[in-house]
C-alpha cells in the first residue's frame, strides 16, 4: 500500500509526513517524530500507556490511524511543559512521588490533564474513574491520586 502524504499538528507544530495507511498515530509520533513519551504497553487498547490528547480529549493512539488524525490538534507529553516550565501536573507528580518506573506516566498525566481541563475540581471518585484506563503496576495509584488532587487545588 502506497504511502500517503499527510499533515499532522502536534504540540502546536505542523508536520508533513509520508505514511502508510495502517500506521498508527502512536507509531508515527514515536518513530517518525521521535516523540517517545507515548508508549506501547499492550497495543490492544487496555493499558492507556499510549494515551495522547486529540482536541483535548484522551484517546488511544495505538488504535488510531495517523491518517485519520489530520486536521486535529494533537498533544503529547512533550507538549505540556511550556518554555521550560513544567505543567502543574508534572510538578505534582514529581513532588508527591507519583512516578516510579515512569512507563505509565506520560499517558497518566495527559489523561489527568484532560480530566482537570473538563472539571477543575473533580472529586476523588471522579479522578479514579477517569484514570481507570491507565494501568500502573508500580504505585498502586495512591500517590497518583494525591498528585492530581494537589494539582486541582492549584497548589504549586
Amino acid at each position: 500500500m502506497k504511502k500517503q502524504l499527510i499533515e499532522l499538528r502536534v504540540n502546536g507544530e505542523s508536520f508533513e509526513l509520508a505514511v502508510e495507511p495502517q500506521k498508527t498515530l502512536l507509531e508515527v509520533v514515536r518513530e517518525d517524530l521521535g516523540l517517545t513519551g507515548a508508549k506501547e504497553a499492550c497495543g490492544t487498547g487496555e493499558c492507556g500507556a499510549c494515551t495522547v490528547l486529540i482536541d483535548g480529549k484522551p484517546i488511544l493512539s495505538c488504535l488510531t490511524l495517523a491518517i485519520e488524525a489530520q486536521g486535529k490538534e494533537i498533544t503529547t507529553i512533550e507538549g505540556l511543559a511550556k518554555a521550560g516550565e513544567l505543567h502543574p501536573l508534572q510538578k505534582a507528580f514529581i513532588r508527591y512521588g507519583a512516578i516510579q518506573c515512569g512507563y505509565c506516566t506520560s499517558g497518566m498525566i495527559l489523561n489527568a490533564k484532560s480530566i482537570l481541563d473538563e472539571n477543575p475540581k473533580p472529586s476523588r471518585d471522579e479522578i479514579l474513574k477517569g484514570l481507570e484506563g491507565n494501568l500502573c503496576r508500580c504505585t498502586g495509584y495512591n500517590k497518583i491520586l494525591e498528585a492530581v488532587m494537589a494539582a486541582s487545588t492549584g497548589e504549586d
Binding site: 499492550c42 487496555e46 514529581i94 516510579q100 479514579l128 484506563g133 503496576r137 500517590k143
Partner: protein, 779 residues
C-alpha cells in the same frame, strides 16, 4: 540519629523530570542508525523433538538480513542458578528439543517488523511431538514423560525433579505428640505474572572492533553481561550492557532471555544494530511467570498457642527448565523460619519440571504463598484455642537478638513492635471477630493480620557492589554506580547518601549508572540489597572522597581534619566563621599540590563478609543474610455476601525497614506491594491449558486499576540508624510487603464470612460455595 540533611528525607526523585516530560529513554525507545528489527519463532508444541529446520525460504525473502537457529550458536547453556549442584540447563535457542509452548527455536533480523514476521512464517520446522505433562504431581509419577532426568543427588523415586531442599531441626514427631492441637492443611498458590508495563525488549549493536553493546530491559546489567558473554563465547570486557530506563520488572527480567541472546547474535552476524521488542501477547505467553507453589503444612501448638512443631512440604512447578525454581524452594524454608520461633521443624521442598514456560521470581518469590499458608493456619488454630490473632503472633514472634537456626542474627528485629503498633492503629481487637453481630447484613466487614519477613541482600553473582565518587573542577560531584533504577528509586537514594556525606545538594550530583564498561560492579536490583549493599558502597566512596577533600582542606585552612565540616560545596572549620575554602579550590589545590590527585573516592561493600558464598540451596546450611526486614500488615475487607465480591478497603503496613532513606519512596513501595497483594489474593491468575497460555492480554488477566485503589497506611518501626563513618544497616522495602498483605487479606475474608479459602485467588464463587457448605444464607 544526628540531624541529617538528606538521608531520611522525602527528597523528590532524581529522574522525576525526565519521566514526567517523556524524555526518559527506555529500551523500546532507542534507535540506532541502520537498525534492524528482530522477531522470534517459537515452538507451538509443549514437548517435541526438532527433526529439521529449513530457513532457506526465510533467508531469501527480500528485506531479511539474517536468520539464526540453534546450530548457529555455540550450544552453551545458561540458567538462573549456575552452581556445581545445579548446572545451567537451558539453551538460548533450542537445539534438538523443545520443552514448552513458546520456547525459542529461531530468530530473524529484517528491515522492518512486517518482513520479520513474514520471514518467521517461511521457516519450516519439522517436529516430532513427545508426550507432555503439565501438573507437577503428575510429573513426579514414575509413568510421567521425562522432561529432564531427575536430579542425580535426589534419591527419591520421583521423576522430573529439578531440585530439592531439605532442612530441619529437633524432632517433629515428638513435637506433634506433645502438642495440644495439631492441624494439617494444604494451601495452593496460583500462577501469576508480573505485568510490568514495559514489555521485554533488547537492542544489541555489534561493532567492527569486536565490541557488543546491549541495551535491554533488565534488573541489573552485570548478570546480563556475564550470561550473554558466556553463551556468545565473548570475553566479558567485549560485552557492554548500558543503562536504559526500565519500565518495571518485579523479578521477571533477571536472568538471560532468549531474545537478548538472539538480538546480540543477529547483530554479530550482520554487524548492524538489531532490536527485538516482545509484544504483550508474547510476554503473557512465553516470558517468565511467577512460581506457583502448593504448601502442605502440619503444625502443632500448645494450649496457649506457642508453636511446638511444624512440618512443611512445598512443591513448585518450575516449568520446563530449572529457572529460579531451586531458589524458591530454599526461600520457602526461609520464609517459614524467619517470623516465628519454631522448636522443631521438618522442611522438604521440591522443584518439578513440567512442560510449561519457565517460571521466575515474582515479588516475594515464595513468601506470599508461604505466609498465606502459615498465617491462615495460625488464625485457624487461634480461633480453636480461643486466642485472638494478635496474641498468638506475639507469643511466637522473633525477638531482637534471636539467633536463627542458620546462625544468622536478627539483632535488629522489630517484629513485635510491628505487630503491636499495627494492631493498635487499626483497632484490630475491636473490629475482629464480629461475624455474629453482622448476621443479616449484605455487606460484611472483616479484619485480618499477616506477618512476614524478607532478607536484605544475600550472596549471588556478582556478589559485591562498588562505587566511585568523582569531584569535578567546579565542585560538583559525579557518582558512578553500577546500580540500576528499575523504578524503586535507586539513583535517588544513592544520591541522597552522597549529598549527606559530602554536604552538597542533590542538584550538585550527576549520576552515571548501570553501564558495565564505565561504572563499577553492582549486585543488581533483584537481591533486595539496593539500600543495604549498594548504599553502603556509595557511602564508603563518598566518605573516601570527603576524607581526601578534608586532608587538602586541612592543610589549606591550617586546621585538623576532624574539625572540618562540608556544606554547600564548601569546607569550613567548625566554630570559626569565615575560615573556609570551596570544593573548587580544594580540588585545584589537590591537583597542584598533591601530585595531580583530582579526588576520586572509591567504595565497595559485600554482605555476609565472612561467608564464601550463599547458603546451600539443597540443605539450607550456611548464613544467609546480615539483615532481615519484618512486617505486620492488616487488611480490612468488605464482602458482599450475595455476590461474594471482596473489596479491600484499607491496608496498614507496619514495617521494620531499619530506617527509611527516603520515606516517600518507601511509601510508594508499600502502596505498590499492597496493590500487587490485592491482585494476587483476589483476582490474578494465568490460566493455562495443556501448556498453552489462555490469558494473553490485560483483558483476560486483570491487574488493579485506579478504581481499585486501596487506602494505605504506613507505620515505620525504626530499628537502625545512619551514622557517618560506619556502614549502616538498613533493610529491604521492595519485596516483603506483598506476602504479609496477601495473608492478611485471606484472614480478613475469613473474619467477615467464616469461609476459609485455601487456594488463591479468592474468587467470589469460592466464597459463595463456602457459605453454601456452611449453610449460611445472606438474608
Amino acid at each position: 540519629m544526628e540531624e541529617l540533611s538528606y538521608v531520611g528525607k522525602s527528597v523528590p526523585r532524581k529522574d522525576g523530570v525526565e519521566k514526567a516530560t517523556g524524555r526518559a529513554l527506555y529500551t523500546v525507545d532507542m534507535v540506532l542508525p541502520g537498525m534492524l528489527w528482530g522477531k522470534i519463532l517459537r515452538s507451538p508444541y509443549p514437548h517435541a523433538k526438532i527433526l529439521r529446520i529449513d530457513a532457506s525460504r526465510a533467508e531469501r525473502l527480500p528485506g531479511v538480513k539474517a536468520v539464526i537457529t540453534g546450530k548457529d550458536t555455540l550450544g552453551i547453556k545458561h540458567g538462573f542458578v549456575e552452581t556445581p549442584r545445579y548446572p545451567p540447563d537451558q539453551y538460548p535457542l533450542a537445539m534438538d528439543r523443545v520443552r514448552y509452548i513458546g520456547e525459542e527455536v529461531a530468530a530473524v533480523a529484517a528491515i522492518d517488523e512486517y518482513v520479520a514476521e513474514e520471514a518467521l512464517n517461511l521457516i519450516q520446522v519439522d517436529y516430532e511431538e513427545l508426550p507432555a505433562v503439565f501438573d507437577p504431581e503428575e510429573a513426579m509419577k514414575p509413568e510421567a514423560p521425562e522432561i529432564h532426568p531427575s536430579h542425580p543427588k535426589v534419591k527419591e523415586p520421583y521423576k522430573n525433579i529439578g531440585g530439592k531442599t531439605e532442612s530441619g531441626w529437633g524432632n517433629v514427631e515428638k513435637g506433634f505428640d506433645e502438642s495440644y492441637l495439631v492441624r494439617e492443611d494444604r494451601f495452593e498458590g496460583q500462577l501469576r505474572t508480573h505485568c510490568y508495563m514495559e514489555p521485554q525488549a533488547t537492542l544489541a549493536s555489534f561493532d567492527l572492533s569486536g565490541k557488543l553493546n546491549v541495551w535491554t530491559s533488565s534488573q541489573g546489567p552485570f548478570i546480563k553481561r556475564a550470561k550473554l558473554a558466556t553463551t556468545l563465547g565473548l570475553p566479558f570486557s567485549n560485552v557492554r550492557v548500558l543503562k536504559a530506563y526500565v519500565g518495571g520488572a518485579y523479578g521477571g527480567k533477571i536472568d538471560l532471555f532468549s531474545h537478548e541472546f538472539c538480538a546480540s547474535l543477529l547483530s554479530i552476524k550482520v554487524q548492524r544494530p538489531v532490536k527485538i521488542v516482545c509484544t504483550r501477547e508474547e510476554v503473557f505467553e512465553s516470558a517468565r511467570h511467577g512460581q506457583p507453589i502448593f504448601v502442605e503444612l502440619k503444625t502443632g501448638v500448645k494450649k496457649d498457642g506457642t508453636l511446638v512443631a511444624q512440618q512443611i512440604r512445598v512443591v513448585n512447578n518450575s516449568g520446563a527448565y530449572r529457572g529460579s525454581g531451586v531458589v524458591v524452594i530454599f526461600l520457602c524454608w526461609g520464609f517459614v523460619m524467619l517470623c516465628y520461633r519454631i522448636p522443631n521443624l521438618k522442611y522438604k521442598g521440591y522443584s518439578i519440571y513440567t512442560n510449561n514456560p519457565v517460571r521466575a521470581p515474582q515479588r516475594g518469590h515464595g513468601a506470599p504463598n508461604l505466609r498465606f499458608a502459615v498465617e491462615s493456619q495460625m488464625d485457624t488454630m487461634a480461633e480453636e484455642l480461643g486466642i485472638d490473632p494478635v496474641e498468638i503472633r506475639l507469643k511466637n514472634a522473633r525477638q531482637k537478638g534471636d539467633i536463627l537456626p542458620n546462625e544468622d542474627s536478627v539483632r535488629n528485629c522489630g517484629l513485635v513492635e510491628c505487630i503491636e503498633r499495627a494492631a493498635e492503629a487499626t483497632r484490630f481487637k475491636e473490629i475482629y471477630g464480629k461475624r455474629k453481630s453482622q448476621e443479616g447484613q449484605r455487606i460484611r466487614r472483616g479484619i485480618g493480620m499477616g506477618v512476614s519477613s524478607y532478607f536484605s541482600g544475600s550472596l549471588i553473582y556478582p556478589n559485591t557492589s562498588a562505587a566511585i565518587v568523582k569531584l569535578n573542577d567546579d565542585g560538583t560531584v559525579s557518582l558512578l554506580t553500577g546500580a540500576l533504577d528499575i523504578g524503586q528509586g535507586a539513583e535517588t537514594i544513592l544520591c541522597q547518601i552522597v549529598a549527606e556525606e559530602l554536604g552538597v545538594s542533590m542538584d550538585d550530583i550527576r549520576v552515571v549508572a548501570a553501564d558495565t564498561e564505565t561504572t563499577p560492579v553492582d549486585i543488581g536490583a533483584w537481591i533486595s540489597g539496593g539500600a543495604y549493599v549498594s548504599g553502603n558502597a556509595v557511602k564508603m566512596a563518598a566518605s573516601d572522597a570527603r576524607r581526601q577533600l578534608f586532608e587538602v582542606a586541612a592543610q589549606e585552612l591550617e586546621a585538623n581534619p576532624e574539625d572540618l565540616i562540608a556544606k554547600n560545596r564548601e569546607i569550613s572549620v567548625k566554630g570559626i566563621p569565615g575560615r573556609s575554602i570551596s570544593f573548587t579550590q580544594a580540588v585545584a589545590s589537590s591537583i597542584s599540590k598533591r601530585r595531580g590527585n583530582p579526588i576520586i573516592g572509591q567504595g565497595h561493600f559485600r554482605t555476609m563478609k565472612d561467608m564464601p558464598a550463599h547458603p546451600s540451596l539443597a540443605t539450607t546450611k550456611g548464613r544467609w543474610s546480615d539483615n532481615y526486614a519484618f512486617d505486620a500488615q492488616v487488611a480490612e475487607v468488605d464482602v458482599d455476601m450475595e455476590t461474594g465480591q471482596v473489596k479491600l478497603v484499607k491496608a496498614t503496613t507496619a514495617h521494620d525497614c531499619g530506617f527509611p532513606i527516603n520515606p516517600l519512596l518507601v511509601e510508594g513501595q508499600i502502596d505498590g506491594q499492597v496493590s500487587m497483594a490485592q491482585g494476587h489474593a483476589l483476582w490474578e491468575e494465568v490460566l493455562m491449558k495443556e501448556g498453552k497460555t489462555l490469558t494473553t492480554s490485560f483483558l483476560d488477566y486483570k491487574i488493579p486499576c485506579a478504581k481499585d485503589l486501596v487506602e494505605s497506611h504506613y507505620i515505620d518501626v525504626i530499628t537502625e540508624r545512619y551514622e557517618k563513618d560506619t556502614p549502616y544497616r538498613t533493610k529491604e522495602v521492595g519485596e516483603g510487603y506483598v506476602s504479609g498483605m496477601v495473608a492478611a487479606i485471606a484472614n480478613a475474608v475469613y473474619d467477615a464470612t467464616g469461609v476459609r479459602v485455601k487456594t488463591f485467588p479468592i474468587l467470589p464463587e469460592k466464597i459463595l460455595m463456602g457459605l453454601k457448605e456452611k449453610g449460611d444464607k445472606p438474608r
